[in-house]
Every structure is written in C-alpha cells, then in structure tokens.
C-alpha cells in the first residue's frame, strides 16, 4: 500500500483559453553523491525533478482530453504508455482520455538528470499517481463548487464531468472555472482496484508508429527552414587548425559558411546542397595520433589506470586455483535515427526540436553559448528513433542554434551515418580478470573480479569528471561488476578506470553486458571444476536474504521453464546465466546449435523480476528487445581503430543482428517480487552474452572469452 505523501499540489488557472495547469512541487535536494549513487545502485530511483517550480503536468484540451506533459522522453521503452496508465487509473478515466506529449522545457517539467538508466516508470510511479489523483479531485471539486453539489456526486467520464443531469466537457469546464480549488492529495487507490495499471495494454504511440506520422526529431520542420551541417574530423583527437572555404562558398544553394572558433559549418537551401558544400571545404586538422586497435587493447588492461575497490567481504584471495580473462570490444550505439535538431534563434530566444535524453542539460548548453537566460531556450523534445544512451550527449543542438542565429532562419542539422559511427559516445572496451579458489566440496571459498573500463558515467555531460574523484569508481562501468553471490565468504571486486583517447559513455545497460559476460562465464567454469550442474552451483552461493530470494527464484524459474539441461540433445546445447542490475534480477537460458560455423540461437527463456509491472506486455517487449540487442552485441558488434580512425562507418561492416539472427522463440516470464516497479529496460541485457558463451562451450568444448563471440569462434 503506497503511503500518501504530504506534498501539496498547487493549482494555477487558465493557461490560454482552455487550459488549466496542475503544478507540482518537488523537494529532492539530496547531496549529489547520494543522488548519483542511488541512481546507479538502487531499484528505488528518485524522480529528480527539474529544480524549476512550478511545472506544468496536465492540461485540459479543446478536444476534451487530458494532456499529460512528460518529463521523460519516449525512445521505444514504452514510458508514455506506462505513464498514461498511471495517470488514467487515478483520474478514473479510460486510456483514450489521456494524451501524453513530451514536455517542452518551457513548461519547466524536465528531469534535471536524463531519461535513462531504466528509471522512468520506477521514478514516476509514486509522484505521477499522486499528481493524477490530485488533478481528479481538483476537477471534481471545481465542478462541485460550480454546480453546488457534493464532490462525491461528481463523476469523471471519457470527455466530461457530470453530476446527475448536469454535465460539462473538460474544455467547457476549463473555460468556466476562474479560480481552481486547492485540494489535498487524496489517498491512492489499492493496486487491486486499478483497471489499467498492471494490464498488458497496447502502446499509446502504436498507431502513430505504424502509419508513418512525423513524430521524430528527423521529421521536425519549421517554416522557411534551411539546412546546416558541420565539418567533423575523421581522426581521433584531431583538432581544427584552419579551413579553406573558398570553393564551398560559391556552390549551389549555399547561404552561409559558418566559421566559429570551434567548428566550421555550412548552411544551404537543401540537405544535399549543404552536404555537397561541406565536401568542398578543405579543413586542415592537427591529427596527432596514428592509433591502432592494439594500442587501445594494450591500454585497456587490468593493472592500468586507477583502481577502486568496490566490493570487499571477508579476506582477500591468497591462493589462486582457477582463473580466466575476458574482454569486450568498443561498440557503437548504431541507433537508426541519426542525431538531429531543428533550431530557430530569434531576438526573443531559441526554440529547438530535438531528439535528446537530456533536455535540461542541452537547454543550459544552448543558453550558455547564445548568452541567453535559460528560460529563453525552449527545447521541444521529440520521439527518439532509438536512444540507448547515445542521446545523453546532444551538444550538436548548440551548433544548430549558432547557425540559426547567424542566418536568421530555422536550421535543421543532422549527422551523416559516418559521423554517427565516428563521433559516437562509444561503449568502452573492457578487460576482466576473475580468480577463485574452491573448497574441497566444490564451493567457492574466495573470488576476485578485477575489471578495467573507459569512462561510462564519468566525464559524460551528465556527471562531470570531478565525480570520479568523489565517488571513486565510475558508477556506470561498475554496473554488473559486483558479485551477486553473497553467500561466498570472501569477495573482492576492483574497478580500474582507464583513460581513452576517444569519448565513451552510456550504452544501454552500461557495464552490465560486459561484466555479466565475465562473471557468468566464470561461474560456469567454476561449476565444471566443482563437478556440479551450473544452475545448482549458482543456487548454492546465493545468500538467504530478500535480494537473494528474488535472484534464487528467477534462476529456478528460468531453469524450470527452459527445461535446462547440461546435456547436448540433437546438436543443441543450453547455456545459463543470471544477473542482478539495479535491483532487478534476471536469468536467461539460451538454446543454440552451430550450423556452418555460425552460432544459431533457437530459443531464449528469460525470467525477470522487475517488481510490479505497470504494463507486462511492454516489459516483455523490453526483454525481447534487450535479448536481441544483446545477441547482436555479443556475437557480432565491434568498432576498431585503424591508423587513427574509428572504423567501420556503416551498417554491414559494422555487423549487427538481422531478422535471421533473432531467435524464433523468446519465452519471457515476469515475476513480481516487489509491489513497486523497478528498472526494466536494461537488466535483461545482462545474462545473454554469458548464456551464449556457456552454451557454445557445452556444445563444442570451446570457451569463448572474447566478444564478439562469433569472430572468436571463427578464429578457433
């Protein structure tokens, strides 16, 4: 039973002709360290608010719907649908009455942090229901006062309020009410009373996405819009020296060549004219490095960089009996919608349509560059054609704004695919060393995990570099790095932070994919040494506490649902792995064969305990998507460094899973071990890599210690 907060929702009347606003006040003023750590490690994600009060949440529309302004962006994870369910149930309205839109930053309704880390629904679970319940009471109270009836007699229906024979549409009500009543936040309904929350409803954005409605950043346009583009270096670490723009300036359609201290750009009448002119700009770069991939691999070793002990239990390992090393490569986000923006800067301020996961941060970046007050910069977030962490860094909005200011027109700017690949904020490569000693009866006595990674959460726009010193380890890189088997008496986990010459950052699930690959491959290695079934072996090391109970249950359920066996049957083998990420345990069983040297995954059984599932179908969709993205990353994906350039620069050479690589069977079971929702979007990316490697070992006797696994197998 959710407890009622003492929050008071203030109400302000009449916005425009038909709108009303509900205003929420949030007081999350935790020290930054606590926020960040809570964000990284807890299932109880705080909603961080915008720091700007008051903020716009709801509006009654002329179409008699209730518009919900979302501080979180929709990038495919289904957040809008979950939010609509949370709001509709407390508003006592059908889902069709709710229209979820991205909150423009001018509403003040921004998450000061980001949309990311699988926290959207978890963090909004309590405040959004409270806001919606308050909104309901406010509407009912206003109608009751107008009609001089009891509040209890007022009923909310799809498009209107009524009491007996009296009724008003939402729009009509909004026009009649001048002074909205202040109401206390009512008690929330019981989980069992919800009609929408907890149900597998279709996505609210389904039709827009099936009929080609222009909802993405790339689809944005403004009257009189022109096209800008920026020259970006092909070499790692290259710095701009000078540019010869003489030829480009006279090319067809070119309106202006932009030469700023930190970038050179072109604005032209069409995209192709801008791109053609860009090709004609002769830039001299200082390209100091002739780096090769082997240089990066040599750097990325446990023992290099700064170590931080992040987990310490019992004694340190003294005698190493079993050890193994694992690596994962540099990986690209490769989201299909390129980073793009439409910016319009006038004397009154700036308006930007932007695919971003960081509305507030980008707003500040644009304001700073244009020397504007922050509230003069209105970022209008669009649907994202994939996020995956790539859009936690969207400073190209600044360049578009500068170009718009200089030409006095709205400017659209987006990356080429080559620029997407070469200027990604990559998933850093990692290196893992695992060491352990078993007891005589085949249990783990001591275990030690050392792993190195580049920046994930450190030095991203979200968390400035000084946090590295403050927090020690990179809070992103350590995701999944901890040992989840707390019954082991002696545990040491050390994170080594290595500086890389190119930008790395958040890639869906952060360190989880790499760390779990190492941990759970090693658990199978140890199980074999111990002469035990891999599932039983894992269960033996789970601590008897709440988290342990949930982990135990997902492991047992997955083994049972999959009919897990360590025998090879009809050329197919199974692989098992489990992870706990931000409080959400997940276990997966992969069934695969190898045909013409190609790993062929037939079926994945997935059991996830995310706590309460607001929309079970979309939680399953996240599991399916994470599994397929994880298969893609584990089997195929890698960026390389050749003569100072990040390569490749296109899909195909950057190999990703296609339809044929996706399992024809994905069986997802949700356990709901808590009464509140927890992280969903990233945790199911954990086990898949190790599950594949463990199955391949079972089938072939070959242990794949290096991603991409298909390439490693080809070389064996």
């Amino acid at each position: 039973m959710a407890k009622v907060s003492r929050r008071k929702f203030l109400v302000r009347g009449a916005l425009g002709t038909a709108g009303i606003v509900a205003v929420g006040t949030y007081l999350f003023r935790n020290p930054i360290r606590r926020q960040v750590l809570a964000y990284a490690n807890s299932a109880d994600s705080p909603y961080l608010g915008s720091g700007m009060e008051p903020v716009l949440w709801f509006e009654l529309t002329e179409e008699n719907r209730i518009r919900l302004y979302s501080p979180k962006v929709e990038m495919g994870q289904g957040t809008f649908t979950g939010m609509a369910q949370l709001a509709a149930d407390e508003l006592e309205l059908p889902l069709s009455s709710i229209e979820v839109v991205h909150a423009p930053s001018i509403t003040g309704n921004m998450d000061s942090f980001a949309t990311g880390g699988s926290t959207s629904i978890a963090s909004l679970w309590q405040p959004l229901r409270e806001l919606a319940a308050t909104m309901r009471e406010m509407i009912k109270t206003a109608a009751a006062e107008l009609w001089e009836v009891a509040v209890a007699d007022v009923v909310m229906e799809e498009t209107k309020v009524s009491a007996g024979k009296k009724e008003l549409t939402f729009a009509a009500l909004a026009k009649q009410v001048n002074q909205w009543p202040e109401v206390d936040t009512p008690e929330l309904k019981k989980l069992s009373d919800y009609k929408l929350i907890g149900k597998p409803l279709p996505r609210v954005d389904l039709e827009d996405k099936v009929f080609g409605v222009p909802i993405f950043g790339m689809d944005a346009s403004m009257p009189d819009m022109v096209y800008g583009t920026v020259v970006r270096p092909e070499y790692i670490g290259a710095t701009f020296i000078s540019a010869d723009v003489s030829q480009a300036a006279s090319m067809p359609g070119v309106l202006k060549i932009i030469q700023e201290d930190d970038f050179v750009g072109v604005v032209a009448n069409s995209y192709l004219e801008a791109e053609n002119a860009k090709q004609a700009i002769k830039v001299t770069w200082d390209a100091p490095t002739q780096l090769q991939l082997k240089d990066i691999e040599a750097k990325m070793k446990v023992g290099n960089g700064n170590p931080t002990l992040i987990q310490k239990k019992g004694d340190a390992l003294e005698e190493v009996a079993v050890e193994a090393e694992f690596t994962t490569p540099i990986a690209a986000h490769a989201q299909i919608e390129p980073n793009g923006v439409v910016a319009h800067v006038t004397d009154d301020g700036a308006t930007l349509f932007l695919s971003t996961q960081v509305v507030a941060i980008t707003q500040k970046e644009v304001a700073k560059r244009l020397d504007l007050d922050t509230d003069k910069v209105n970022i209008i977030p669009t649907f994202l054609g994939g996020g995956f962490g790539r859009r936690l860094h969207t400073p190209h909005a600044v360049q578009a704004a500068v170009m718009s200011k200089l030409v006095g027109k709205p400017v659209k700017y987006f990356f080429s695919r080559k620029e997407e690949f070469q200027h990604d904020m990559f998933r850093p490569p990692t290196h893992h060393q695992l060491k352990a000693k078993l007891t005589a009866n085949g249990k783990i006595e001591s275990i030690q995990h050392d792993f190195s990674s580049g920046d994930v959460a450190i030095d991203s726009a979200l968390l400035p570099g000084f946090l590295n010193k403050m927090l020690g380890a990179d809070v992103g890189a350590i995701r999944g790095g901890f040992c989840q088997y707390f019954a082991i008496p002696n545990i040491r986990t050390t994170s080594w932070h290595v500086e890389l010459p190119f930008a790395t950052s958040w890639w869906r699930s952060l360190g989880l994919l790499a760390n779990t690959f190492a941990w759970e491959s090693f658990m199978d290695i140890l199980a074999e040494k111990a002469g035990k079934n891999p599932v039983d072996f894992r269960l033996e090391h789970i601590k008897d506490d709440d988290a342990g109970a949930r982990l135990r249950k997902v492991i047992e359920t997955a083994a049972e649902k999959a009919g897990y066996t360590d025998k090879v049957i009809d050329g197919k083998a199974m692989g098992f792995a489990a992870s706990t990420d931000a409080g959400t345990p997940c276990a997966q069983v992969v069934a695969l064969s190898i045909e013409k040297q190609q790993i062929k995954i037939h079926k994945v059984t997935c059991v996830l305990d995310p706590g309460f599932a607001v929309n079970p179908d979309q939680v399953k969709a996240q599991c399916e998507g994470a599994i397929i993205m994880g298969i893609s990353a584990s089997l195929f994906e890698e960026m390389t460094v050749v003569d100072g350039q990040l390569q490749p620069t296109i899909y195909g050479p950057y190999q990703m899973a296609l339809m044929k690589h996706a399992p024809k069977e994905i069986n997802v079971t949700l356990l709901q071990g808590r009464e509140v929702p927890g992280p969903v979007g990233e945790p199911p990316l954990g086990p898949i890599g190790a599950a594949i490697a463990n199955a391949v070992y079972r089938l072939t006797g070959k242990r794949l210690n290096h991603m991409p696994l298909q390439k490693t197998l080809n070389k064996m």
């Binding site: 020259v231 092909e234 010869d244 192709l272 090709q279 700009i281 002769k282 830039v283 001299t284 080559k418 050749v642 003569d643 100072g644 350039q645 390569q647 490749p648 620069t649 296109i650 899909y651 195909g652 050479p653 190999q655 296609l658 044929k660």
Partner: protein, 201 residues
C-alpha cells in the same frame, strides 16, 4: 577535404573493409600502346585473364551463390545471395539497392541488369584455364558462339561497368581492372581473332 598523399593512401587502406574500395589507379598509370606489338596468343590470354580475374569482374561470378564486394572480395553484407534468377531474392532484389547507374551519394554501384552471372559462369576459385573453358563452352556460357561472346565481352553495359565503377560509400573511387577499357577490348578481339586458344600447361 584536402589530404596530403600519405593521408589519402591511409584513407584508402582504412576504408578497404567497406563497400568496394581500394587503391585508386589513375588512367595515367596505364601503359599506352604506340604501335602494335607482336604478342603471343598466350600473352593475350593472360592479359584477358588479368581483367577477368580482377575483383571488379570476379565479384559477380561466384561459385558459392554469394556476391562479393570490395577488393577483399568480402561476401556481400546482409547475406544477399543469388536467388532464383541471379537477381536476388523475391522481394529484396539486387535492384532494391543497385540501379542502372552508380550512385554518387550512397556509393552503391549500379549498371543495367545489375546481378550475378549465371551459376554456370561461376569463376571464383577456378584456374585461368578453367575460366576460359567455361567461357567458351556453349553449355555453360548460355549458348554463345565466339561472335556472341565478343559482343558480350566488349559491349555489355554491366561488363563494361568495370571501367566506370564509381565511388564507394566513403566517396573513394573503386579500383579499375589492370588494362584500360580500350586495351581490354582490343585484347578480347585479338584473342578471339586468333582462335581463342587456351594455352596448355
């Protein structure tokens, strides 16, 4: 973007793994023929084979039904394959991406009737002599006599595309076969005029 020569060379190396690419060969690199030189039939044969075994030609004459791309003869990305009619699968065909001309924006090569040579004309992995045997055998070459073969080898737009291969996905020109188009045509005509004799080992 202006690049010094070493940089251009570097770029070329780097992008080798991409769609088609390679070292650029300039027309000036070709030998010019000032006067007819008496060459043996075997020399003519090998000049012809120097062209036919170049990736620009060989990539579309696979023996495993998989088109190749680039100087590395990388199997076509996304597992595109011959299909029932040498032009890809039922709905995703060669023409889904490859049009009648090279595309300067995408770097996707194109020519009329873009597709694979028939399976019977697969050359990949064959010796020069075996390739020539397939070329001349009317059971494998689609019933072409010498006259029809000369016509095909010297006039067909897709064959001659090898000398207009366009740019790759990075805008870098694809490498052409080792003879100029004119030299190649002359070699074809001469070899057939001399009786299309396949040298013995």
């Amino acid at each position: 973007m202006k690049k010094s020569l070493p940089l251009l060379f570097l770029l070329v190396l780097l992008t080798g793994m991409l769609f088609g690419l390679n070292t650029s060969v300039h027309v000036s690199n070709y030998k010019t023929i000032d006067k007819p030189v008496e060459v043996s039939n075997e020399t003519t044969f090998h000049q012809l084979m120097d062209v036919l075994t170049h990736p620009r030609c060989m990539n579309c004459h696979p023996t495993d039904n998989l088109p190749k791309q680039g100087m590395e003869r990388q199997p076509h990305h996304f597992d595109m394959a011959r299909g029932a009619d040498d032009h890809g699968f039922e709905a995703t065909q060669c023409h889904t991406c490859h049009q009648k001309e090279n595309n300067p924006y995408s770097g996707v090569p194109g020519a009329p009737h873009w597709g694979l040579a028939p399976a019977s004309m697969g050359w990949q992995g064959l010796t020069r002599i075996e390739i020539a045997e397939r070329l001349l055998n009317t059971e494998t070459n689609g019933g072409k006599n010498h006259e029809a073969l000369v016509e095909h080898l010297t006039k067909d737009a897709l064959v001659l595309w090898a000398w207009n291969p366009g740019v790759d996905a990075n805008g870098v020109e694809r490498e052409k076969p080792p003879l100029s188009k004119e030299e190649y045509i002359a070699v074809v005509e001469k070899w057939f005029a001399d009786g299309a004799v396949i040298p013995t080992k």
